[in-house]
Symmetry: C2
Subunit: 160 residues, 2 copies
């Protein structure tokens, strides 16, 4: 119970820390940063919207809005996907790549300062295991779904 209260505080405060730092220093949301980060790590810096949504744990609606804003700022571009007329490829532009290179150091430093550096190596491994366990119960379609899939959950009835 005490653990829960503190964990809730973390859930409440950490996103604001990252969001604030990125917005002040680079004019980007944490989620925008994450979207561009995923694109930048992809061969061709291009991904279909649906896959990008899966990789960033977002709904298509949310991603659509975000990509719209990023496109207005010239950080990504939308290309029709050859072979499937309804799919759209999102691609990180050169400008977007430059934005990432400018924003990454500050963000990484913030992550280190508030998470990595305050934990021991054992705690980091523990955090990974804990996150895995939680994700398994929450994350029905997940990030890195390949090789990560569980066949079924016991008694997990997610009501509508």
């Amino acid at each position: 119970m005490a653990a829960w209260v503190r964990f809730v505080a973390v859930l409440e405060l950490l996103p604001g820390v990252f969001d604030g730092q990125l917005r002040r220093d680079s004019g980007v949301t944490h989620f925008e940063y994450f979207v561009m980060a995923v694109l930048s790590e992809t061969p061709g810096r291009t991904l279909r919207m649906a896959e990008l949504a899966g990789a960033t744990n977002a709904t298509l609606s949310r991603l659509s809005h975000v990509v719209q804003r990023l496109e207005d700022r010239g950080l990504v571009e939308r290309l029709p996907c050859p072979g499937d007329g309804r799919a759209i490829n999102a691609r990180l532009t050169e400008s977007g790549w430059a934005k990432m290179e400018a924003a990454a150091p500050g963000h990484v430093a913030t992550v280190r300062r508030h998470v990595i550096d305050v934990l021991t190596p054992e705690q980091i491994e523990q955090l990974a295991a804990i996150s895995d366990a939680i994700l398994a119960s929450v994350d029905l379609p997940g990030p890195m779904a390949a090789g990560y899939r569980r066949y079924d959950e016991p008694g997990d009835a997610k009501e509508s």
Copy 2:
């Protein structure tokens, strides 16, 4: 690094899970629930806005809006604080108490299902320690030391 990606996914997904469950089942946001929960655990079910903000890790502005909405729905009430003309006491109403009693079981069940029950007792302790470490680095620039004060408060801290 792999730990970080998974932890980010947790930070991204868990709030939505709790928020969705509470909104569907009880018509309350997770933060509204948390605000009322803190009030319900306070002697007199009453707290000054600033202290409530500290206990819920929120800004005064955010809390003001939320309490406004809760007051419109009759779940809390605002009382001028005797002794300090600028302070406001937020108090959980009977209706708000009833709402909490109705909402709590479902929320607790959700928390258990997605967090408590998927972790071992050791992991829960680890999570508490990890949360503590992260909070310590996040609270430094902020007035949020109250997260710990919530449970060792002897009676009413109205005058200092």
